[in-house]
């Protein structure tokens, strides 16, 4: 369920490079462009009040399942699956992080047993297909292509 308000974060930086954030709530019924316009207007009004410089503006919509369902098993959140997708010959790979990956998708044969993720697992294949078909990209906006490899990382 989409939360009723979206959050706008205005990131400010002083001359030492330190940063701080102004958080504002705006109805989530507005579009990104509308919220962006409002946030930009608000930021310009704040400029006379602060000696810091605006360096970044974030807009966050939050959606959460309702009601929340309990975890399906005891897999720790720290066991992270890192899925690496190609994006093109000259563009950076994309990495998608999935926490608490299940034993059932891990490789069972040497030398990847328990560490590598089984790329032939049907659930993994479905996930990779959906990522490719739904326009998911790397942080630079390059579309994800083929799932190249995946394994367990500790990112916490």
């Amino acid at each position: 369920m989409l939360k009723p308000s979206a959050m706008v974060e205005l990131v400010w930086q002083d001359e030492t490079g330190s940063t701080a954030v102004t958080q504002l709530n705006i109805p989530s019924s507005l579009t990104v462009d509308e919220i962006d316009a409002n946030a930009t207007a608000l930021a310009s009004i704040l400029v006379p009040l602060t000696g810091a410089t605006l360096i970044k503006q974030r807009i966050k919509y939050t959606k959460a399942p309702e009601p929340l369902s309990p975890a399906s098993d005891s897999t720790p959140i720290t066991r992270t699956g890192a899925f690496f997708f190609t994006t093109g010959d000259d563009t950076p790979d994309a990495v998608i992080i999935v926490p608490a990956v299940k034993d059932s998708i891990l490789d069972t044969t040497f030398p990847r047993a328990g560490y590598g993720i089984d790329l032939s697992n049907s659930d993994v294949i479905t996930f990779a297909d959906i990522v490719t078909l739904n326009g998911v990209s790397n942080v630079f906006g390059d579309d994800c292509g083929t799932l190249n490899d995946a394994y367990v990382q500790s990112r916490v």
């Binding site: 690496f84 790979d93 990495v95 040497f110 500790s154």
Partner: protein
Amino acid sequence: MALNTFPEDWREQPCFIVAIPRPLVPYVGGLLKIAEMRGFWASSDDYQRAYSAVVELERCLMSTCLSDLIEQNNALYRLVNTALLGQAYTVVSDDPLVVTPAIAPSVDLTILDQDSLIGRIDRLTQLLDNRLAGTDTPLYSDLPGIKQQLESIIAALGDDSDLATIISDLEAIALLLA
């Protein structure tokens, strides 16, 4: 935190192989997360170049196990030893891979199969020795050498100097040799 730069020619620079124990792979991969962040790098260009390199490195952590490389090296050794000297190998088990005989620290030039590369060269050498010089070899010993045959022909010709006589004698010798 210091802002870091990353060279434009990073793809042209040499790479180093580091053996990472399997249980450390998740942690080494996870620790690289810090280098995936924009704030770690001095500029957007540094960030994009470094991000490419870091994520490729992370991907590679599980892609080529050192034991795979060693086994491929061993397989190459066996290919060469079989092709050159004819050593036959047998796969005793696949997982873990056990192949006999084990790779020896050194080998001599003993030919184990005459159909190997060195074996075939040896066969040709024996053939030439036998056919040209008439030398008895392990593979060829039952025919007189060409040199020996020529000497026999010259001896059979005797002192004849007339061309018609020489041709006639050669025809007679050819009939005898046939």
